[in-house]
Amino acid sequence: MWFKGLTLGLLAFCFTNNILAGGVETFDSDYAAFMETSGSSFFTVSNLWLLLAAALVFTMHLGFATLESGLSRSKNTVNILFKNVFIISMGIITYALYGFNAMYPGFAEGSAGIFALGSWFNPADIVTAANMTAEYADYTWYTDFIFQAMFAATAATIVSGAVAERVKLSSFMIFATLLVAFAYPTAGSWQWGGGWLSAAGFYDFAGSSIVHAFGGFAALACVIVLGPRLGKYSDGKVKPIPGHSMPLAAIGVFLLFLGWFGFNGGSVLNADPYLVSLVFCTTALAASGGALGSILFSYFLLKKPDLSMGLNGFLAGLVGITAGADVIAPGESIIVGLIAGAIVVLSIIFLDGLKIDDPVGAISVHGICGIWGTLAVALFSDAATIGAQLTGTLAYSAFAFLFSLIVFSVLKFTIGVRVSEKEEEEGLDYSEHGQSAYNI
């Protein structure tokens, strides 16, 4: 059934042009007419902004790739970069083939708002004036797709960091594909597709829960199934395994910060000057608060100014403000950031105590701070009640956790999810790719 749907969708999708041949002329004139209206001006600039925001979110994938490589050992660098190349390509394409329509057009009248399967990519009616003008939104259908597609791969990238340095490539690729292609659009549709959570008054502006807590708790499940890296917890002690390149990690974090202007700013979904500028301010202030919070808090705990914590702090602040970037005041966003910065330090230390080995801190940064950010909406604004926020964030965290626990466990007991000890020692670059990241 669904397979037939997929095939048909795929075929139809591939021959859009031909199918459309008939409708092009009406489109041209309708579209031209719209572009003459005065409303086209705000539409044009909003559409441009969303496309630029998509490009900024794309930049985040480079940020993730460099951050994750920087915080891992050099013998696993090719593997990490490869995973990132795969995730973004696979993410964009599966989102085109299935995810976007499953997540967005929303639910049929009277549906329970839980699972949007059925709305396969149907290209026959894409290039219409209704889809390419203000009738659709403040941006075109294509813009909608590309902006959302850039988000889609994020969840898998978050997991990628947490399972780095020991996960079996093929299993990870299967898992990532299932997560991005099916789990994320399903869960996303609950809120952004107008599903049950949006009906329940849940508020998550750009995805503290929908993207970050979702990714972070998927990561937690995978790490639990996978176990820690060899040598990380020996003789009951935590042995830090420092990342191989702090400049790479720092490049990653700054690029993520940059991309977040698109992630949050684009989530305004138009170029409204007041809202977009507010979101830029809250985003930057929360990030800065996060870095200072982490630096101060880790200095207080550990008596050293810790760069790795400062970098995580930026991300903690960014994840923290993501749910409420448009409703929390700038001054309060500093506080949201400061608290996120402290939380991430505690969380990293706490998870290490539980022998949950997360090389890049993804669970803490995205998972825990994602929850914090979601709750912060209720604490620092009137946009939602604490109850709605708790419901929503738990729903996303729990769903991601359970989905990942099941899928990853199935993989574990079938093809295995972990490389052999020998391969782990030699590094995945040798064992999985037969390539090394650094040569003379």
Partner: protein, 112 residues
């Protein structure tokens, strides 16, 4: 005095160091090296062409010890660095004629 050169797998470094430290070995010098041996390198691929990378990352420990300590030092290294799998490495012992501590000009066993 002898110079013990031990080539081991990189991930064993920490453990070996700790074992030696318990033994009272106060100093050593460590180099990242590439090892060629029975542990055959992988057939690697780079942009469509295969080639064999015979050189695997290893760590070389150089430790100068008093004659009397050679045995227990090498034994400790061997027992800790052993995984039983190919590529565990070697321990070589070379004669040393003199040793001086730069800071104090002390020589001989004092210098170690």
């Amino acid at each position: 005095m002898k110079l013990i050169k031990a080539i081991i797998k990189p991930f064993k470094l920490e453990e070996v160091k700790e074992a030696l430290s318990e033994l009272g070995i106060d100093g050593m010098t460590v180099t990242e090296v590439k090892g060629y041996g029975r542990q055959k390198g992988h057939t690697e691929i780079y942009r469509g062409s295969e080639y064999t990378v015979d050189f695997l990352p290893k760590v070389l420990l150089e430790i100068v010890v008093d004659d009397s300590e050679v045995e227990k030092t090498t034994e400790t290294i061997i027992s800790v660095a052993k995984t039983g799998k190919i590529g565990d490495g070697k321990v070589f012992v070379l004669p040393v004629e003199s040793a001086t501590r730069i800071r104090t000009d002390e020589t001989g066993a004092e210098a170690l």
